[in-house]
């Protein structure tokens, strides 16, 4: 019953959109549905010479993937260390709390100064966006590992390294995964904004900004919808893995 109920509002929004678009009658403020839908239905068609929706989506995804992987490579080990060692936590926590409230986009000018325009500066911003949710969830996950599991492992002869690899990591994995899901979501938002930085010439974010310069609102909205669909698709992907691998979460006995 939930799904049919959930469909009603989006349909209503489409109807209101179409009515509003007709009433306003101005393509530069709100384009009509029938101008946006064809763009979405032919995603391989070039848009204003910047490449197709598919091409730009792929470019954005590669950037997100790179920043996201760097974030995982640093945040997961650091989070395991901070969750496991109170000394490392005491050492690093203040720094984490100081940097965390700075929005990734605020690093934009510095990113360009340090890495110059292009892939590296965008990857840096995406990395910052994904880093903190992954780090904080990893710390939480490690702290949530039951003491009994660790003690059982020790009495069964596990070394400190084995305790980390065979108990702490799998025990914290569901929460770390949640961190990856949230981190990816934020990384995806960051890439769109990062593509608005000067010097960028591709990506879904760039496409929407570029279309704005030509007053092509229907391309902007098609781009926004594509961004949303990709975001939802990845969230569902993360959740389905969660359901499959971490079904035990919440039923520890």
């Amino acid at each position: 019953m939930r799904r049919p109920l959930g469909i009603i509002l989006p349909l209503l929004i489409l109807v209101v959109w179409e009515i509003a678009a007709r009433l306003i009658g101005n393509q530069f403020i709100l384009p009509r549905l029938e101008t946006v839908v064809p763009v979405l239905l032919s995603p391989a068609t070039d848009i204003l010479g910047t490449g197709s929706l598919l091409h730009n989506a792929a470019v954005s995804l590669i950037r997100v993937g790179a920043g996201f992987l760097v974030a995982i490579a640093i945040a997961v080990p650091l989070g395991i260390g901070m969750g496991w060692s109170p000394r490392l936590d005491a050492f690093a926590d203040t720094t984490v709390q100081l940097f965390r409230p700075i929005p990734p986009l605020a690093w934009g000018p510095l990113a360009i100064a340090w890495f110059s325009v292009g892939l590296n500066s965008m990857v840096f911003i995406i990395f910052l966006g994904a880093f903190f949710p992954i780090l904080l969830n990893t710390i939480d996950g490690v702290r949530g590992v039951k003491k009994t599991w660790v003690e059982v492992a020790r009495t069964l002869g596990a070394s400190e390294g084995q305790v980390l690899a065979k108990v702490v990591l799998p025990g914290a994995a569901p929460t770390i995964w949640t961190g990856l899901r949230v981190g990816f979501g934020i990384a995806w938002m960051c890439v769109i904004a990062a593509e608005w930085l000067p010097g960028t010439t591709s990506g879904l974010g760039y496409l929407t900004l570029y279309a704005y310069n030509f007053g092509q609102m229907h391309f902007i909205i098609a781009g926004m919808i594509t961004i949303g669909i990709i975001g939802i698709a990845f969230d569902l992907l993360f959740r389905s893995v969660e359901d499959r691998w971490f079904a035990w979460r919440g039923s520890e006995r």
Binding site: T148, V152, G157, K166, G171, A247, W248
Partner: protein
Amino acid sequence: MKLAIRDLSKVFVTGTGEQVPALKDISLTVADEEFLCILGPSGCGKTTLLRIIAGLDTPTTGSIEVDGEALDGPSRRIAMIFQEYSLFPWRTVLENVAFGLEMTGNGRGDRLEAAGRYLDLVGLGSFGKSFPFELSGGMRQRVAVARALAIEPAALLMDEPFGALDAQTRNLMQIELQEIWKKTRKTVVFVTHSVDEAVFLADRIVVLTERPGRIREIVPVKKCARPRDRTCADFVEIRRHVLDLIAVGSSD
């Protein structure tokens, strides 16, 4: 395996620097293949004593010797079974039992084969592919026993292992544990606060006082033949004696 506990005391220091004595002057020898129960009221330090023997806590003073050698940290010769929440929920039952053998680097085929044998021993041979959350409480404790036995320890430490089970399952598990003990000839140190359970299982019962735990008396149960009948005269007499000891303790 012979276990000697010498002049052992444990003092905990709280966050405010207050010293809380948990155990005082415990001296005790557990004979090879003996089934020893440690009995006492809640908070008497019996779990602390077991954790020290397991190498999970350190004594403030005193020492523990295993066959004449001082114990220093967890040893694979001594396995511990906890009251609950001890199975790794992300592993299948078989992989749980094989955990200890995985730590020593046994090959996958080897350790799963061995784990299967121990799972058979506790009567769960057909549940290898299940996950812990799919099992009942009694079954989970059997898996924990199999997992402990799989590393072939000389001694088993059990911390109120049946405390979370219903009375019927508990009685059944006591009988099964006795069978397993007879078959495997391990030294067992079993902590409980149930007088009935202690008299049913133990060769000797160590009765502790309230905090700080001291040995009030060591009660031999050997004259009561196994498997024990809870209604036989000897059983009832010993049970009454132990209950008296605990009653004295709480009126101090």
